[in-house]
């Protein structure tokens, strides 16, 4: 399923359709603007971000004890707890729970963790059918494509393409592309799924160590439809989803939906604590690289992420390259700092898919210094030798140029001469900067030359 092409190659493919790129760019920027309006209407917004970040710092520093406390309370509440080191172990646990009850069909609400673990494929190979019930994820599933955005899984698709998929898979009339009508069709189809599945799996947004409850946030109501009709309810969560006390939910629920889509709160914030009579509840705590990330002081703050997607909506590279170009379940700036921790070689290209403009860090509700981490990952990746030769060479050339005033002056002069008198030498396919860009018109003199001349003349006047 994983692609081997790098971000630049995949982005180039996405960039071939300029009209679509502009549309994608605009759609995400609109969401960013909604986030801004919502944040500006919230008193003490910056203090809220500060508090959220500090709570998460505390979680990271005391994770061991919170995990033990959470497990104790879950058990007291009648929830069965499992621990999984990696994707394989997580998938095995889910399979064993379903197998014990002879269940062959499951409905799932949005969970990036199970996407990352390849749970659907694993279960499918063992004869268990999984349906993703979040509308966007359902659309991506029937198209056999991973989500391109953690909050808006099919943001890159046009309604006509979705209409075509529905025509093929749900038998709607050909050409039907009205969002309301398509949603009604999915509602009817998935309602039948909810009513007939004995098992439901959800992700976890926040888990409270103090009480042993966990909170799942959706706008569609799909997590609740699945969970409350199921006889077996499973929740999969990464270790970092813990928060210390129930009252801390107030801080995070105020920030999450506002940062994600500019909404004051998700429509549903469901607090699951104990199974209903006759129901089984299982919760799987998944490490999958989190404990390793904890050991990297420069990068451990990325464990604070509450998966709002705000950094993606604001990122100029994400908006113009599309989520699928990141060849990782979690795309965008946050995906680019999480992925190298799991596999540095496979994701060596991702920290370079950024302009380091810092917009991601400015919108992050838990104040992860995302652009700073992107910069630091680049250094680690180059040092470990995971970067392409072409990039290493050009970086060495650049550091040599900036280190010597003579070479710098000569390089500037040569560059300006080429742009003015021999533009064909750079306006060609061998120059990656020329792709999707026009080379700039070159000034007649360098800043150094201008400064020498003007400052000298000014000094003369004085």
């Amino acid at each position: 399923m994983k692609s081997t092409a790098d971000h630049a190659t995949l982005a180039e493919k996405f960039n071939r359709d300029e009209e679509r790129v502009d549309w994608h760019d605009g759609a995400l920027w609109w969401i960013r603007q909604k986030r801004d309006r919502s944040a500006n209407l919230t008193p003490q917004w910056e203090e809220l971000r500060e508090a959220a970040s500090a709570i998460k710092s505390n979680v990271i520093s005391n994770l061991h004890d919170y995990l033990v406390q959470f497990e104790e309370n879950l058990t007291k509440n009648g929830v069965k707890v499992y621990w999984a080191s990696d994707a394989e172990e997580h998938n095995q646990i889910v399979y064993s729970i379903l197998k014990a009850k002879e269940i062959t069909q499951m409905v799932k609400s949005k969970s990036m963790l199970t996407e990352e673990c390849g749970l659907n494929e694993y279960l499918h190979e063992r004869g268990i059918d999984v349906i993703n019930s979040d509308l966007g994820e359902y659309i991506q599933q029937i198209d056999n494509e991973p989500p391109s955005h953690i909050v808006l899984p099919c943001i890159h698709k046009k309604k006509e393409e979705i209409g075509e998929l529905f025509h093929e898979h749900l038998g709607t009339e050909k050409g039907l592309s009205d969002p309301t009508l398509l949603t009604r069709v999915a509602r009817k189809h998935l309602r039948n799924v909810f009513l007939t599945r004995r098992a439901a799996l959800t992700g976890v947004n926040f888990a409270v160590a103090e009480t042993g409850e966990y909170v799942v946030c959706t706008n569609e109501g799909n997590a609740d439809m699945g969970a409350h009709l199921s006889e077996v309810q499973i929740a999969s969560m990464g270790l970092e989803k813990l928060i210390p006390e129930r009252k801390h939910l107030g801080v995070f629920l105020r920030l999450l939906a506002r940062s994600a889509i500019g909404q004051p709160i998700t429509i549903y914030s469901s607090h699951f604590k104990k199974p209903r009579p006759g129901q089984e509840m299982h919760l799987i705590l998944v490490d999958k690289g989190r404990s390793t990330l904890l050991a990297r002081p420069d990068f451990r703050d990325s464990l604070k992420c509450i998966k709002c997607g705000g950094c993606m909506n604001t990122c100029p590279v994400y908006r113009k390259s599309g989520g699928l170009s990141y060849h990782n379940t979690i795309s965008g700036p946050i995906g680019a700092i999480l992925a190298p921790n799991l596999d540095m070689q496979q994701h060596a290209d991702l920290p370079f898919a950024s302009t380091l403009c810092g917009s991601c860090s400015n919108v992050c509700p838990v104040k992860i210094p995302i652009h700073d981490q992107l910069y630091k990952w680049r250094q680690v990746i180059v040092k470990e030798g995971y970067v392409a030769n072409r990039k290493t060479f050009s970086m060495k050339a650049m550091s040599l140029t900036f280190a010597s005033p003579d070479i710098y002056r000569t390089a500037g002069l040569t560059g300006r001469w080429i742009l003015n008198y021999a533009p064909f030498a750079v306006n060609n396919k061998f120059n990656p900067w020329y792709k999707q860009r026009d080379m700039p018109e070159s000034p007649k003199q360098s800043f150094g030359e201008w400064y020498k001349k003007n400052v000298k003349e000014n000094n003369k006047d004085a």
Partner: protein, 194 residues
């Protein structure tokens, strides 16, 4: 060593020195007119609000706005002449055909329009999610300004399941076009009781 022991040992070894929890007691918003703030917010997210002074008024509003030939359920004893009382002990799948559910909220939050419900006021956990239309009775004196105040009121209450619901279910997954009624209710109504 089991995965549990391995994970806990690695976490213990790798976690940084203790960082203190912040004080979050400064997030206080004092609303002058909390009822109108709540009404504005809830209307803004696509719900409708009826201000009533007694529960009997609800009996007049319901037939005007909902299809009473279909199934209506409630947990509020006073409404048992217009709705069937929800049994806590039947199969939740049996509520699939509910047109309207009328339940009572524990509290309402002015900053986001959400109501807090626990399973004791839902009758069954599935009720506010499976019905086609949801109506919630909120008493004005149960309104709070922010989520911080809401959790201060919920405090250490023990429940099996509880949830905030802040409007009709919705999605914007198809080209960012807002559609009310994704998997949960198509509409949500608040009866705000003085």
């Amino acid at each position: 060593m089991s995965s549990r022991e391995k994970i806990l040992a690695a976490v213990k070894q790798n976690q940084p020195p203790l960082s203190p929890l912040p004080d979050i007691s400064m997030f206080n918003v004092v609303e002058v007119d909390i009822a109108s703030k709540y009404t504005d917010t809830f209307t803004g997210i696509g719900g409708q609000v009826f201000a009533v002074t007694q529960l009997d008024t609800i009996k007049e509003i319901v037939p005007e706005h909902f299809d009473t030939s279909k199934r209506i359920v409630t947990t509020i004893a006073e409404l048992n002449d217009i709705a069937e009382l929800i049994s806590a002990n039947v199969d939740p799948h049996g509520f699939e055909d509910v047109e309207l559910a009328i339940i009572e909220a524990r509290l309402g939050v002015a900053e986001n329009g959400a109501v807090w419900l626990t399973e004791s006021v839902m009758g069954q956990r599935i009720i506010p999610y499976i019905c086609q239309h949801l109506a919630v009775v909120v008493y004005e004196d149960s309104l709070v300004s922010t989520m911080h105040d809401a959790y201060a009121k919920i405090a250490t209450e023990d429940y099996g399941f509880g949830g905030f619901i802040g409007g009709p279910s919705k999605t914007a997954d198809i080209e960012q076009a807002l559609v009310l009624g994704a998997h949960g209710p198509l509409s949500m109504t608040i009866f705000l009781v003085k």
